[in-house]
């Protein structure tokens, strides 16, 4: 939900939000699954779009449900332009213009408290960030925040998905109920958990005391040692659903025959899981993780509502730090932080895509050849008949 529209609501939206564009398909899946679509003009373009190696290209590689010949002929260019125009206009004016204008502030002295001198200062803002002692804390917090959220979300989500494959009564209702967190914004989730983790009247302390696990209330959000644990718990709670839903959908696309064959061949439960289930949905798994990393990285809402980055910066991640700097009026430095975030996400995306590509190359999937061919040769798209 929720989520996923991350710009500029900084949400998921993701949630489901934020996000990321969950309507996605990995390049290898898109191309490999349809070895028969060679001559199709559409596929050439699609493969090209997916093969450029960036996150954007791969994650948006479209999936044609079947080979498609171009149905429409004639004055296509005009039609395409006319239909795209309203969307392009809105996005250009209200998203791209401010985004580009904001990016150039990173190289200027731009402080709301003193706008008399907004001259270009080169990399001064970046130097200030890298020498700021808070920056180190913020970086390690961001790492803990991303890994500490993703790993439990993935494991719990995977388990739920595996167990939800089996039909049972009220399964639909169950899915609808665990889907609920998605309708809520990260900001409100933060408020919910801030109240539950309240040190005096919070229900978490009360439950732990009733269970005999603690003797005196823990000041969860006031103690630098426990604050990160609390925000992580909230975020794990929020994000499991996304993984459960994506993985369940992927699992349901695995044909039953494979399982029947494995059972006949005497494969045990564990072996089936690791040698059939996981390899079959590797593309979805890797892509889901990538999207979620980008999204969680860019997701300050929950921390903003729960702790505001405190106590003593112990829950500040890069994006919440950016909010604080913006609120101080130093737009130049805030923009510089934003560009650092973008750079980190790009590096991570490229690294992730390369790593998962190598893995599937050695994984013996028949789709590898097709994928790599298109992946390394973005020119293919130009050779197909297209309409400008």
């Amino acid at each position: 939900m929720k989520e996923p529209v991350a710009f500029p609501s900084a949400r998921p939206e993701g949630e489901p939000g934020g996000t990321p564009t969950p309507t996605t398909c990995s390049t290898d899946a898109a191309v490999g699954a349809r070895p028969d679509v060679g001559p199709d003009a559409g596929t050439g373009l699609r493969a090209g779009a997916g093969g450029r190696g960036s996150t954007a290209a791969s994650t948006s590689a479209p999936t044609a449900p079947r080979p498609r010949r171009p149905v429409f002929t004639g004055r296509q260019g005009l039609t395409v332009a006319a239909f795209m125009a309203p969307a392009a206009l809105f996005v250009a004016v209200f998203i791209y213009y401010p985004m580009i204008a904001g990016s150039q502030m990173a190289f200027r002295n731009w402080n709301l408290n003193d706008l008399t001198d907004t001259s270009w200062v080169g990399l001064k803002n970046f130097r200030e960030i890298f020498t700021d002692p808070v920056f180190g804390t913020v970086l390690s917090n961001t790492g803990i925040w991303v890994v500490g959220s993703i790993v439990p979300q993935f494991v719990i989500g995977f388990a739920i998905a595996l167990w939800l494959r089996r039909r049972f009564r009220f399964r639909g209702l169950y899915q609808a109920l665990i889907f609920f967190p998605w309708a809520i914004s990260g900001f409100l989730i933060g408020i919910l958990f801030r109240w539950m983790f309240n040190s005096e009247f919070g229900v978490v302390n009360d439950l732990l005391e009733k269970a005999g696990l603690i003797n005196e209330p823990i000041p969860w959000l006031a103690d630098p040692k426990t604050a990160m644990v609390a925000v992580l718990i909230a975020n794990i709670w929020y994000g499991v659903t996304f993984f459960a839903i994506m993985i369940l959908a992927a699992l349901q696309s695995i044909p039953d025959e494979i399982y029947e064959a494995a059972e006949i061949d005497g494969a045990g439960k564990v072996r089936t899981l690791f040698q059939i289930t996981i390899p079959s949905i590797r593309g979805t798994l890797s892509l889901t993780v990538l999207l979620r990393v980008i999204w969680i990285f860019n997701f300050p809402d929950l921390i903003f509502a729960m702790t505001g980055g405190g106590p003593s910066n112990e829950t500040h991640i890069v994006t919440t730090w950016m909010i604080t700097v913006t609120q101080q009026g130093d737009y130049g430095r805030a923009s510089a932080i934003g560009l650092i975030v973008v750079a980190m996400l790009l590096v991570f995306s490229v690294f992730h895509l390369t790593a998962t590509r190598e893995k599937s190359a050695t994984g013996g999937r028949p789709t590898t050849g097709g994928k790599r061919a298109t992946g390394r040769n973005p020119r293919t798209r130009k050779t197909k008949g297209t309409v400008s």
């Binding site: 996150t55 239909f83 388990a159």
Partner: protein, 278 residues
């Protein structure tokens, strides 16, 4: 389909799924229970897990002391308008992305994805300045315009998935029967896609309803605040009044949960269809 299940496996499965259900529902239950406690009992021991007597004091206070009715109206107007227009515009762009081949298609999709990757705070300053010059600060119309733009990229990608699930043959038949391309789109394609369009609208509506940082930036006047902006005001105060806070949270969450419950099947389909094909 996935083999037989042992008795132990069944027990583990049921235990785990029940536990997760409890974990999921509890925070929602807790904020609701808190909202119905009288202000005195919220801050008293022992903490009660069921309000001893239901009190609507927190809710009435919201409308009496804070202008919560105004905030709800603002949010409702803006989210409805932005959700509707964004869905309509995205339908057009999604349609050409699903049905046409053109050279810059990859670039268009990439441009949509980039909007999701860059932290929104980079854009807030320039956006505020631009809106000030256009005289659109503190204006419901202005915020609606911005929300439309925010919804479009993801909504387009989502709707495109729905379009692609509908066979071309449907339109071809309509066009052979004498429909124009637009006629085929509006008379044949859109009726078939209605569930997907409703899901996309609900998704947009909920996103606008929940949006915080843009409305905090662009809506300063008390009469123009949206619900999340008002909530942000509540938590920024030194002593948080958890009674009104929880009542406000329930009033914010309830409509979105009802909408999601209606459309969850189609939203799930929209989100997953692309990711798992092939």
């Amino acid at each position: 389909m996935i083999g037989k299940e042992s008795a132990a496996g069944r027990t583990v499965r049921i235990l785990f799924l029940s536990l997760w259900l409890a974990v999921t529902v509890f925070p929602l239950y807790w904020i609701t229970v808190t909202s119905f406690k009288s202000p005195g009992t919220i801050f008293s021991f022992p903490i009660s897990y069921w309000p001893t007597h239901f009190s609507l004091e927190n809710y009435t206070g919201l409308f009496r002391e804070a202008k919560f009715g105004v905030y709800l109206t603002n949010s409702l107007i803006i989210a409805t308008a932005a959700g509707t227009v964004a869905t309509a515009i995205s339908m057009l762009s999604a349609y050409v992305l699903a049905r046409f081949e053109f050279r810059s298609k990859g670039a268009v999709l990439m441009a949509a994805l980039v909007t999701q990757m860059i932290p929104s705070f980079i854009a807030l300053g320039p956006l505020y300045m631009m809106m000030t010059e256009l005289n659109l600060v503190d204006s419901r119309f202005g915020l609606t315009l911005v929300y439309i733009a925010v919804c479009i990229p993801f909504c387009t990608v989502m709707l495109r998935g729905f379009f692609e699930n509908i066979p071309d043959a449907l339109e071809e038949a309509a066009m052979i029967d004498g429909c124009s391309r637009l006629g085929a789109l509006f008379r044949v394609l859109l009726p078939v896609m209605r569930p997907g369009i409703v899901a996309a609208f609900i998704f947009n509506f909920v996103n606008c309803w929940n949006e915080l940082f843009l409305s905090v930036t662009l809506m300063n006047g008390d009469a123009r605040k949206t619900v999340p902006t008002a909530l942000n005001g509540f938590i920024s105060s030194f002593n948080i009044d958890w009674g009104s806070m929880s009542a406000a949270a329930v009033l914010t969450i309830a409509p979105t949960m009802i909408l999601f419950a209606f459309a969850s099947r189609h939203i799930v389909q929209g989100l997953t269809s692309g990711a798992v094909k092939g």
